[in-house]
Amino acid sequence: MTTLAEVQGGTDSPYALSHLDALESEAVHIFREVAGEFENPVILFSGGKDSIVMLHLALKAFAPAAVPFSLLHVDTGHNFPEVLEYRDRAVERHGLRLHVASVQDYIDRGVLKERPDGTRNPLQTLPLTEKIRSERFDAVFGGGRRDEEKARAKERVFSLRDEFSQWDPRRQRPELWNLYNGRHAPGEHVRVFPLSNWTELDVWQYIAREGIALPRIYFAHEREVFQRAGMWLTAGDWGGPREDEPVVRRLVRYRTVGDMSCTGAVDSDATTLDAVIAEIAASRLTERGATRADDKLSEAAMEDRKREGYF
């Protein structure tokens, strides 16, 4: 057991929390505020590292009770099989309820059309917002971090969305102290970002500290890939490669996990958490810059998608 006198938390004072402890405590506070103030919250869960960390924090926030939220996966139909397996195991293990909003369903029904560039990322918005409406979710947790992108840097922790799920960056509520305002009208909902203040490195350090398991594709492995727009994409049923795009076998890993058609792998020999952390610390590219095609579309690509209801 610890006592006040024994504790040495950091360089400032015995009671200063380390940055990881401070971020963890803040995120747990956010989860508990939502549990206390909303009727029907849901956690967006893609099987990527940020949503895995979110779930881990939620488990800690309510221990020894169960997480009082269900999970929602927006399934693009172009998922990495390892990630889907991980998702299903997590749901099973923690006795959670999983909702799936399927882009493929919308395409099959003719509601959504495949884009000429093959990316399904922008197509996620409609299934997501319709699912939120039909299930009457009033709070939707997202793993978005402000360090990812400059439009995200402007995002509040509690972000009100209107009945069309739209984000209006000019009409955001000021967020003062830790007094989060979750008031919303029927039909509106609040997007909640408990990892707002985390960086990519924080996420990895926390994964290492807590010993959190991740899908294997986050670690270096040999894979058949081809190059498109400067990124290594995985060859597969989703539609790649084209004839002029030769497939090669390379040692790669993923920094982010999303739709296979627009998430690129990076060359890497990092097979352990320590190696991944060292690699990220030395990298001169941001996570999204290295691996996401959709953000390169225009200077305001993220802002525009977020305005429409993207996470």
């Binding site: 006592t3 405590s25 508990r32 840097a153 000021p174 290492a208 610390a281």
Partner: protein, 444 residues
Amino acid sequence: MTTTTEALAATATLLRFATAGSVDDGKSTLVGRLLHDSKSVLTDQLEAVERASASRGQDGPDLALLTDGLRAEREQGITIDVAYRYFATPRRRFILADTPGHVQYTRNMVTGASTAELTVILVDARNGVVEQTRRHAAIAALLRVPHVVLAVNKMDLVGYREPVFAAIAEEFTAYATELGIPEVTAIPISALAGDNVVEPSARMDWYGGPTVLEHLETVPVSHDLAHCHARLPVQYVIRPQSAEHPDYRGYAGQIAAGSFRVGEQVTVLPSGRTTTISGIDLLGEPVDVAWTTQSVTLLLADDIDVSRGDLIVPTKDAPPTTQDVEATVCHVADAALTVGHRVLLKHGTRTVKAIVKDIPSRLTLDDLSLHPHPGLLAANDIGRVKIRTAEPLPVDAYADSRRTGSFILIDPADGTTLTAGMVGESFAAPEPVKDAADDDGWDF
């Protein structure tokens, strides 16, 4: 390579700070310089800025484009909203609230300062202390930001002369002392040339103090628990009702101030019931002591009625409960706050109905004079208010506790956040304004 490997220390502490400065004081350049020289701007971000700058016909990369994230901001070339930035050095992790300098965005500086341990106030060495500088200092004092840095920028444009810096530092420090700011660190810099931001300046050998970054890395963040009133706002009651934990009943919350230990006698407010702490869970692990700002779950010896919104405090150190809250507020909404306004008040985890009974004064930030009975507070106004709440609230003075001395007012009709409130006296009311009993009207 040492920078990146040492920056990996997962036990480094976190400093939250905010920047403030007028439009052309070079705030974006300072932020850009801090991010750039601490190697927090990565190649693809710089390339994006270079591309965007070139497409606008600019000669070099415009570092403001790094921080202005919204389409409207880039179009107008100004910062509209607070943005949060992240960077690290071997000694610390930083969360920077990058706040706009325009007068009409005073509320955004309040937002940034509310969670900051330190504020950097920028002035242009050629202009010295101006109205906006005084306004920023007043807000830092009002929000009780523990540390204030005066960055005298553009020293390159005044020949790096010491007397210019000394005069500005002296004038500012005198004003800050008047506001009750305990400590000012003045640093002469050139954000553009990089003097004294990250690297010490060779052109100002008369200056013996720290660079901006060095100061940010070493400023002590106070965690003096001995003088803090312990407070735990109850967020959520954890009741597993499972076979493994049939009787577990824990009160979850983030400790807002001070520390709690097992065996301590506590009182639950507002009911006033008393019991002892039988256990503390720190995210699933039992501990015998916990302190601010840990998120914990308290287990109590007696089965008493405790729910979300209650405040758990040491019995020997309980705050008074009151239905009449007097506070200094900053009005953050576009529509005015008026006497008679029916609102919701969120304090800690409790939201209650309330009515604005009186607005005794409005503060003129430029000279700190008080305008008596203004009748309303418009957007960005700072003033004193008296609020009657529908239920008793245990409030501390903001001077004693930034967390349990603060509240927000919310519009019950549409949920808008109206007002940021700080309980108790502040410099804004050096002499209490007389409450005229017959003053039930107001003039616009």
